[in-house]
Symmetry: D2
Subunit: 304 residues, 4 copies
């Protein structure tokens, strides 16, 4: 049976929980929030939901102990009001850095030995801290990272040339934040290099990169948070772990040369990060990745 | 192909939209909100979602004209901040009664001739007004009504006797509001009358009725709105219309003797309300239903 | 993670396997058939399928050892050509009775300690033998029994009165075979006793019972086997076990007074048969159940 | 609402119908077979199935007239026993060429104006004939073609290097038959050209091509037909049409330079073939495609 924990029941965590229930993915679902009333509210909204579903999920509220034999934990804690209005995801750093130690210790104490998928921002920093503090292996912990930003790049490119986003492959890499970038050398449209398509159809890749990077901001400014795309990314990663799917996708993974987590191609399966999928970047792209890594490092240094 | 419109993108409407997309139910989805930025935000959050799904849905924001050939419209407008803190759903009456005329006229102008499912509160009053003002037939318009409250009753009873809520059948009837009641004479647990089970196991039906009626309040007080169970009810009704399922369930339907909509057993299919499922109530239950109808009537009279 | 085994890959077993894969239900699926080439063929047809699905399932062919930590085993062995052309499911008795000992011993040797759901016919006899020979508890073993026949009764009644089969509740009980019967005292249509509806609408319950009992025969004579409805019953039971759903439904369960398995109301969850749901039958229905039990007993006696 | 027709209810057509029902994809499903008893058998097996599903599908047997307003027709007629034991899909040519005229005329007479997806073999020949004889446009008609063979190539390559088949991109092109070939210049593994991976890991591409081409044979010899992967391909294409997904994939499409249908990259949406996705092949690959086209042409010439 499949047992999944969600820690942090803001809009993202609650949407993840709802989806795990309504798609019949989780057999048991542990829901934890710093606000006990919020956890109970989500528990009851989901229990009432189950009366109308063909599947069943057992909901266990507010129990770290119940995580002991969970297959996957998804961390989605955060304080959206701490995000600066320029949309910088580092705005949540101070708040979440404090929360990490407490959450990580409780996860450790539970005896949990599955895979931890982190959504909390700044994603790469918090994922790095969670791995340190839970004592789980670097394979067992990873973050959603630029899996979401890559979805937005696919949407932005698809929109520009009237294509289904799923016909766009390739990667947004680096920090899940301002220093991220689209590695255009990796991007293909139905098997054609985007550089060729861009030349033929007069696309401005810099502008598309801006749209990809700023995509979430449009959502954030209109509804004051983003939840559906990021939850869907987390669900896809969760299923990849549960079914050992060996899903190739960019996530926030530990890279030895940087000694921290960062958005990079990976392969996800039962053990977590099955493989870091090393790819050839252009010199310019490599420099952008190094720069993005440096920004993550600096934040980590400040916290030490 | 299936084309669905959602009018009102608060937590409920947005959750309905998200579910129609992530479950691959809608081929085309029209999203409308009085706040254009909110509609665009939901549009983009869902477009980014589609990059990570195996199904596709075309999202059309802010276009009443696009509703012309829709199969189903779900109305979920409202102003949650107008709900009085005692949880009375009539708190939204003044706000929504104003909105109804505008929305109904725009639906009428679009040429829409499908089925309208109303969630907006007070559900029975607003459904009555929507039917009047859109000019759609009484079959084509209905409300979620006590379909949600019945889910909560199933959960409350199930919880009390350690049963799956789906093993509980029967109805909560009347107003989707304070005057609703569980028609215990209709309630069975795995084929056994609840009155027998209650006698054998010492259940207090009045207390269970309270829990059912107050179930939503626990959710509301913890998260300041309720969304997942009500959205799931709306999704189930939408599918029943699309596939002509002849789903037997309580909804807010037009009863001739009261001359307005009220929560009562019905059968839902392609044409909307295929049948009002007349059931035998006890004298006491019938009196409660009459009382509940009177409260709805009074609100309608005030609005006239 | 969810691990499921299917033993016997005829039309029914293969359809069960296909559905577990295409609905993303199984994380690991063990496929076993007495014909190794058939097992490999199904393995490859399903592996090719996975290239086109959004979910992943690991397929493990021909390994009883792999069942050791499975959650559920579904037995669907049989020899359709041994069914007599009058459609009597006892026609497979001699063939399957021999297979049972071998399969049960191998399951036992694997160390399997989950739930076994038997489809193989004659279902009640084979389920009884499987429980004896695997050494699993009476809770851990049950058969699909009259869960399928009840589906057919719902379809037959629904068809007669133009209702969705899901609006019909109640039970077909007894042997999954010729001596089964519809317990009309349990049957309701949208909450109305069928006896009332039959009186009002001139339905002949005996004729409906014939249609329910003979429903499978129409399928069998047209395609020489039945597979989709029975596979769907098995899938629903499997999900009930995996998610501990406490699903109330008729299955082939062990009844102490008969000392063998027979189709009767039950509740299915993680441990298998959570509860035998004792119901009140009319004297006539009880006699039919006793008679059906006697027929099952006689077959078991012959085998001893 | 979604209305789909399936013509030909052998193992493939029946599996397509079952999947359209159990995944809740079709709201209405028209089932047609030259054997009326077979059609009724499938109708009843699926109606009984619906008693156990949370979704509903209306089943309409043996009515070409009902196809008039269908969105999609899937043709899966054939006579498996006419396949020569060397597995050559041209073995069905004589049988199916006769059936085509009759089926096409009846489709034409129905007034159907949606999208026709052909599975019947030899796929490219029959698709060409169906387009001619139905009078539907070349966009409205296409075949599953090498979409299945590409799935098998992905499986064969994935198996050789222990990768999820979905991590393999690229195309098998040409005839859905013996002259098909993997266009290795298009194949990538997680973004790496397979030629690089093959060099690094000592893979023999010719051998992999054989495994891809012969993949179906292993299934065919073990179960005497193949059904699950091909049905899943057809379902994915059907959904792409219903939701206008602009799915990029190889199908049997009409190429002007050959003046017939052949397996080639395409984009599938509401109108059928939205685009032929022209790709650059190596000289050797182009020669193989020309050769494969010639074989299809010769068969078409014989039929004239």
């Amino acid at each position: 049976m499949r047992k999944i924990g969600v820690i942090g029941l803001g809009h993202v965590g609650a949407t993840v929980a709802y989806t795990l229930v309504t798609k019949g993915i989780a057999d048991e679902l542990v829901l934890i929030d710093s606000n006990a009333e919020k956890a109970v509210a989500e528990e009851y909204d989901l229990r009432d939901t189950i009366s109308r579903l063909d599947t069943f999920t057992k909901i266990i509220p507010q129990s770290y102990a119940a995580l002991q034999n969970a297959d996957v934990i998804i961390t989605a804690f955060g304080n959206i009001s701490s995000i600066r209005m320029d949309g910088d995801r580092f705005g949540e750093l101070n708040y979440n850095a404090k929360v990490v130690s407490e959450v990580a210790q409780k996860i450790k104490d539970s005896g949990f030995n599955g895979v931890l998928i982190n959504i909390s921002n700044p994603c790469d920093v918090i994922t790095t801290l969670l791995q340190h503090k839970t004592g789980l292996s670097k394979k067992q912990v990873f973050g959603t990272g630029t899996f979401l930003d890559t979805a937005r790049m696919q949407r932005a490119v698809g929109q520009a040339i009237h294509e289904d986003p799923k016909n766009i492959s390739g990667y947004v890499l680096g920090e899940h934040g301002e220093s991220q970038f689209t590695a255009w050398s990796t991007v293909e449209i139905k098997g054609h290099a985007i550089t060729e398509v861009a030349a033929a159809r007069g696309l401005d890749l810099n502008e598309l990169d801006q749209r990809a990077r700023r995509g979430g901001w449009l959502v954030f400014s209109g509804k004051h948070y983003t939840c559906y795309a990021i939850a869907t990314c987390a669900i896809k990663l969760t299923l990849a772990v549960l079914s050992d799917a060996h899903l190739a996708c960019p996530t926030s993974v530990y890279l030895e040369n940087y000694d921290h987590y960062i958005g990079y191609p990976s392969v996800i399966g039962r053990q977590g990060v099955i493989e870091v999928n090393k790819i050839n970047l252009t010199i310019e792209e490599q420099a952008k990745l190094d720069n993005s890594a440096k920004i993550i490092s600096e934040k980590l240094a400040v916290l030490d």
